[in-house]
Amino acid sequence: MQSQHTVRSYDDELKFLAHKIAEMGGHAERMVEQSVTAIVNADKALAQRVISDDLILDACEREIDDRAIAIIAKRQPMAVDLREIIGSIRISADLERVGDLGKNIAKRVAAISETRQSLNVYRGLQTLAELALTQLKDVLDAFATRSIEQINIVRDRDDEIDAMYTSLFRELLTYMMEDPRNISACTHLLFCAKNIERIGDHATNIAETVYYIVTGQQMPPDRPKEDLSHGIVVDEARQA
């Protein structure tokens, strides 16, 4: 870890940012987890709680922005300190988006609860969420400990998320073809899956930011990565 600044209140200000990020991270994780639980259990009350919780996350992001700007103005930070402050701004924006995605999932609970889908679908969604949340937890740990050893694993696992999402996409398409009454719920579930997949992307963004904070270098560009759902058409889904 870094040694202390000569001016100790500077350390306190930086610590405040780090703590706030950790707080936001925990909050965002919980929102996503609960939103998926709300879908699986058709729990509208829980969904409502997730939706109102988003306000807290928005407030945290604004507070981090304000504090970060104040530190820059007051301390004229250099090198690793400057990267940490800019990094905090970026990470909080990513986490705020993760919260939005959780809220978005929660909003669909009412519509999805109209009909019950096969257990497989819920299980798929849960697995996808678990993957994305593990991802998020790992990058936040990397931020807290300033260690980049695990960062590449995070990127590899994003590929897993993409693959999982693509297969869930196929599955939902199949259900819709089997019975048109499934279409509205499955479409909502499709959006939920997409939202979770996006959470993985935000986790990857955070991983890149942490890498930049620690090393001062941009993370080397990776092989092209994306989910393949944009190429799927109905015929293909039927074969699958």
Binding site: S3, Q76, A79, T215
Partner: protein
């Protein structure tokens, strides 16, 4: 806003090209400086690129001013001071006994921390150097040197109506620019600046920094500064000193964003000691 961005972009590109094309105006090779028995500088190898600003940074007593002063042999004036190793200007050893120190200091001028104009008129402050070095053949030529030096120091417009008033009557920032004009008047090749802004307010500091930026088109500049932001703003190359050693030297942008040495990192982020 757009214009500014474009301008700074052009400048950044220009700086990069300069960095590649630039040759070294001065070279320090294993420079050690002793004050009596005490060694203040240990085997410093540092090159000063031509027509660029090199910043020397480090905590007080780190040897940066000592190194700066050895570049035009200002240390000669200090009793018991001894310099070993080699410092060259355009390949010529400046500590060679054949070197005329007065001529050397005309080629390598200096601006000090506190503005120190002579207790004479503004005109005489600038005219003094060219006169003793015999740079002007006539009164008219001397007038021209004074005017152009004051112009290049961005001071002429402010003082043109009172050239014969006392230099000491100017504001601190104006006095410092007068000292820069005085240094420029003898057509130096290198200008050494020892914390030139530490006695100035932010506006005067900004004017001097703007001036430094213009001067580097024609001069090689070495600046000692305690302000990290200033070093980051005005220089293209930065050298970090600590306890008489050169810790790290590199492109300024790298030094202030991703320094390699922990001591540099600790110093620039305010974590020293």
């Amino acid at each position: 806003m757009n214009l500014m961005t474009e301008r700074s972009l052009e400048k950044a590109v220009g700086d990069k090209m300069n960095a590649v094309a630039s040759t070294n105006k001065m070279k320090g090779d294993k420079v050690s400086v002793f004050y009596g028995a005490k060694q203040a500088l240990f085997d410093v190898d540092l090159d000063i690129p031509e027509k660029m600003v090199t910043a020397l940074i480090g905590p007080s007593g780190c040897g940066k001013s000592t190194f700066l002063r050895s570049l035009n042999r200002m240390n000669d004036t200090i009793e018991g001071c001894r310099v070993t190793g080699q410092i060259t200007l355009d390949g010529e050893d400046i500590y060679d006994p054949k070197i005329d120190v007065v001529e050397l200091r005309a080629r390598v001028g200096m601006v000090f921390q506190k503005p120190n104009p002579f207790p004479k008129s503004i005109y005489e402050n600038v005219a003094y150097g060219p006169r003793i070095h015999g740079l002007a053949k006539s009164r008219h030529e001397l007038d021209e040197i004074v005017e152009s030096s004051l112009r290049r120091a961005s001071l002429f417009e402010e003082v043109k109506d009172r050239l014969h008033d006392a230099g000491t009557g100017l504001s601190g920032g104006q006095q410092q620019r007068l000292c820069i004009a005085r240094a420029i008047a003898v057509s130096p090749e290198v200008i050494l600046m020892d914390e030139p802004c530490s006695a100035l307010d932010p506006i005067a500091t900004a004017k001097v920094e703007e001036l430094i930026d213009e001067l580097r088109q024609n001069y090689t500049i070495v600046i000692v500064t305690h302000s990290m932001q200033q070093a980051a703003r005005v220089s293209q190359k930065t050298a970090m000193f600590h306890l008489g050693n050169l810790v790290e030297v590199g492109e300024t942008e790298m030094m202030f964003t991703t320094p390699k040495e922990k001591r540099t990192q600790d110093y620039i982020t305010g974590r020293f000691g």
